[in-house]
Amino acid sequence: MTYELLCAGFGGQGVMLMGQLLAYAATIEGKETTFFQSYGPEMRGGTANCQVVISNTPISSPVLSSPQVVIVMNRPSFEKYEPMVHSGGILFVNSSLIDLVSQRADIETHYIPASQIAQEIGNTLVANLVMTGAYVERLHPIASESIEAVLKKTLTGRKEQYLALNLEAFKRGAAVITKTKEQTT
């Protein structure tokens, strides 16, 4: 099984971190993974994106033409990438900052108020972890325990104070999907 993901948003929203966390978790699990970020004169407030592939077999292309799954954190990213989602694919929308609704009937769309949830638990900066939680819960490209392990491994020293907040954000994102599942079944 191969999982393709494109994450996009404003610089500063932690879009790259989302991708790196997933790639790191996949590495821990012994899976193959590639992480490729758009690079250039990116800056806080500009747009940024990264592409992640996770697989059990060697990965041919790290560049995606039409990704199976797309996460958009801001409105310009929605406008650019919503049409690119592969037919039958999945789109995750940060509905706190994007007031658009996808008109596509051939994809599955999840509206996650990621920034709002992040604010509720204490810091809008962890909106990326909320989104990661939703993504992992919906697709399980890697186990959620692996994300937790990565967070515990990387948030050490001075950063340790943010560990609980990040773990909470991840869980709250997953809970949005669990709740949707319960409602639909």
Binding site: A26, T27, E32, F36, Y39, S60, S61, P62
Partner: protein, 354 residues
């Protein structure tokens, strides 16, 4: 063995250290700045030297100096910086000095842009600087391959006393993948370099120089160099054969493009197209053998590069007018995606069936 998630540029730097390199000289340029920043942190930890030159010219000449003293030394840069280094590289060849140069190619000409490109293929493989010479040029297609080739590069450079160039691109540099380091060479255990300028006390003097004003002697020096290149051309060939056994359409791609093409080939294969790929890994010497090996079954060749058609020239020499060759290029720092390459394969298939 532990797999670590690393960016291409950082993995390149770590691989150089593990290959016994203890001297890095460079000057910043996107998209390979992390090589220098990683080296600045790691070199002091292993007792090595990291030094930012005041320019690319200074940096390559520092590599030349360290190499003349017998050390494994390297530099890395991106296209415009590599152009600036050509004088020093030619001098190193003339002086018969080893060294490793990594080029994370970006779009040109001139300052160009910072997007990934393959437009320095001809500069890398046909000389680059002045004089009759070649560098062994290696083109990795993944970060793991970049890591493994770094070790080969230092060994080849020492074997022939000639610089080796790694031709990577912005994607290889900026991407992250899980890699393993399967080697760790202690530079103090490397064989003595019997030509190095390491102090002449108690032995006869040695001279390292690229100037010779006696034409006949310089001619002989050139024939000596050519003999080394001829040996390298036989010995240092590397390539990958991908799904070629029944291939009617044979793609020829190197580096990042080869990787994107694999996905396109896999997709086309699922729909019944007989397509495969020759991936040259050593770009100089260029592997001609696989072309002859699969010529009988091949109906056509398709060369895809992130430039306006450079390796294409070597493919023409290898195919030698025996089959039609189609080319598709993307110069200037733009990238193919698998869908684009699959479309090229389908277009050729439809033309062929007419």
């Amino acid at each position: 063995m532990e797999r670590v998630l690393m960016k291409g540029t950082e993995a390149c730097a770590e691989a150089a250290i593990k290959a016994g390199c203890r001297y890095f000289f460079g000057y910043p340029i996107t998209p390979q700045n992390e090589v220098a920043s990683y080296m600045s942190k790691r070199m002091p930890e292993v007792g090595g030297v990291y030094l930012q030159g005041e320019s690319e010219l200074a940096s390559i000449n520092m590599v030349m100096g360290a190499s003349a003293a017998g050390a494994r030394a390297m530099t890395s840069s991106s296209s415009p910086g590599i152009s600036l280094m050509q004088e020093g590289i030619s001098y190193m060849v003339g002086c018969q000095l080893p060294g490793v140069i990594v080029n994370f190619v970006r779009g040109g000409p001139g300052l160009g842009g910072i997007g990934p490109a393959q437009s320095d293929y001809l500069q890398a493989t046909k000389g680059g600087g002045h004089g009759d010479y070649n560098l062994v040029v290696l083109g990795p297609s993944s970060i793991q391959e970049l890591v493994d080739l770094m070790k080969d590069a230092f060994e080849i450079a020492d074997r022939y006393r000639n610089p080796v160039l790694i031709l990577a691109d912005g994607i290889i540099g900026q991407m992250m993948e899980a890699v393993q380091f399967k080697f760790e060479i202690d530079p103090t255990t490397l064989p003595d370099k019997t030509w190095a300028l390491d102090g002449a006390k108690g032995r006869t003097k040695r001279l390292i120089n690229s100037l010779d004003l006696v034409p006949e002697r310089l001619e002989q020096h050139n024939w000596n160099l050519q003999a080394k290149f001829a040996q390298a051309a036989e010995t240092e060939l590397r390539w990958e054969e991908f799904l070629l056994d029944d291939a009617e359409t044979v793609l020829v791609c190197f580096g990042t493009v080869a990787r994107i093409a694999k996905k396109a080939i896999e997709n086309a294969r699922q729909k019944g197209i007989k397509v495969g790929m020759i991936r040259p890994i050593s770009l100089w010497p260029f592997p001609q053998a696989p072309f002859q090996k699969f010529m009988a079954g091949a109906k056509r060749f398709l060369v895809v590069e992130m430039n306006a058609g450079q390796m294409l020239q070597d493919v023409r020499l290898a195919v030698c007018c025996q089959r039609p060759i189609r080319f598709s290029g993307k110069p200037g720092g733009t990238t193919f995606n698998p869908e684009m390459i699959e479309k090229l394969i389908w277009d050729l298939e439809e033309e062929g069936s007419k």
